[in-house]
């Protein structure tokens, strides 16, 4: 039922196991699971090569060093490795963009998808950093701590996501 070669595990089991990842995060680092601040750590570290002044910015500066920041970068990098292993075991490795895009956008153009992917990624991380968290930080961790910030941010995320999705073509 939950073999390593299965394409899909029960969302309830997989979700519950994801929730358990809170335990090592709190025990070893005293912090909750999150993903979006690693994008600041990585992009600001790269930007520092051309703009050493970025270290002086109080926001960017606090994400450049330290165990917690690089723990999260490793966590997010590890996601790609874990996904690669799982997809390889189950034979669900992907290549071209998901067929959902041809339906949702009404075009098979890869260029259109790439442009939207860049724009979507940009807005996603800009918004997540403004809100101080993403689906992991505010969603899974915030709500599991009964944080008011988590409830507000997740409500707003679904509002923005649903409003945008209704502008696309129906996907089924």
């Amino acid at each position: 039922m939950f073999g390593l070669k299965e394409k899909a595990w029960s969302p309830y089991l997989a979700g519950a196991l994801i929730g358990l990842l809170q335990v090592p995060a709190f025990i070893f680092l005293g912090t909750a699971l999150g993903a979006s601040s690693s994008y600041v750590t990585v992009s600001a570290s790269l930007a520092e090569f051309v703009d050493p002044g970025i270290r002086a910015l109080s926001y960017a500066g606090k994400y450049l060093d330290g165990a917690k920041n690089w723990w999260q970068v490793a966590l997010v990098g590890g996601i790609a490795i874990g996904a690669f292993i799982s997809a390889t075991l189950s034979g669900t490795r992907r290549s071209a963009p998901s067929p959902v895009w041809a339906r949702a956008l009404g075009t098979k153009s890869t260029a259109a998808r790439f442009a939207l992917a860049f724009l979507g990624g940009f807005i996603l991380l800009f918004g997540a950093r403004l809100a101080d968290g993403c689906t992991s930080g505010h969603g899974i961790s915030g709500i599991a701590q009964l944080a008011v910030s988590g409830f507000i941010a997740v409500g707003a995320m679904f509002a923005g996501g649903i409003a945008t999705a209704m502008l696309l073509k129906p996907v089924r």
């Binding site: 929730g19 490795i81 874990g82 996904a83 991380l125 009964l146 910030s149």
Partner: protein, 210 residues
């Protein structure tokens, strides 16, 4: 914790996280866009299950003293409403969340690399704009507000009650529509278009022509 140990721990946890995200299929753009169009509920099932188990382990952690202190984020109404809304727009257009972008990269989706670069650019742009945005949106926080704090209760009883409500909701959801029906032939959350299903039903119903 030394930075090397933190990176090692992060990698191990990340590999488990990525493995579970891939097995759960929540990283599939078809699942995410389907959820936002209220046609596919796999994402909500995973999300609520993760919250429920998180509530239980954090409640137990507090009760046993293994997790003495939680780490809720400060409330900032404007930033969380506007930032959350923008993030939601991005989730639909990218077909991913910040964590699942890397899951898509690992699974091989070619467009996910572009999403990743867009995400890094968006985060860097925010870092440069933060000094300008701070006086408008990022000041005046009422603090790290929590539901139990507002109600003047300890965390664990409220967390366990909330977890129980979520488990009942998930049970009802599975009774309403089993998750497997939302998976799709290629486990990507993309289901046959409605017309094709009707056509198939018609063909099946029509008497076979000789």
């Amino acid at each position: 914790m030394s930075i090397i140990a933190a990176i090692g721990l992060g990698l191990v946890m990340g590999i488990a996280f990525g493995f579970l995200l891939e097995k759960s299929r929540v990283f599939e753009p078809g699942v995410i866009v389907g959820q936002m169009q209220m046609r596919n509920f796999i994402m909500l099932r995973i999300f609520l299950a993760a919250v429920a188990s998180g509530l239980v382990v954090l409640a137990l952690g507090q009760l046993t003293g293994i997790i003495p202190k939680l780490d809720p984020k400060a409330t900032l109404y404007g930033a969380q409403l506007l930032g959350g809304f923008l993030a939601g727009v991005g989730i639909t257009l990218a077909g991913a969340c910040p964590g699942t972008i890397l899951c898509q990269v690992g699974a091989g989706y070619r467009d996910a690399i572009v999403t990743l670069v867009g995400g890094l650019a968006g985060a860097l742009t925010f870092a440069y704009l933060e000094p300008t945005l701070r006086p408008i949106l990022l000041t005046g926080s009422p603090g790290k507000l929590t539901l139990h704090g507002l109600l003047g209760l300890p965390f664990w009883p409220l967390a366990l009650v909330f977890a129980a409500v979520l488990i009942v909701a998930l049970y009802a959801m599975e009774r309403w529509r089993p998750w497997r029906t939302e998976l799709g032939e290629n486990a990507d959350g993309v289901l046959p278009p409605a017309e094709r299903v009707e056509e198939k039903a018609k063909t099946a119903a029509a008497p076979a022509r000789v």
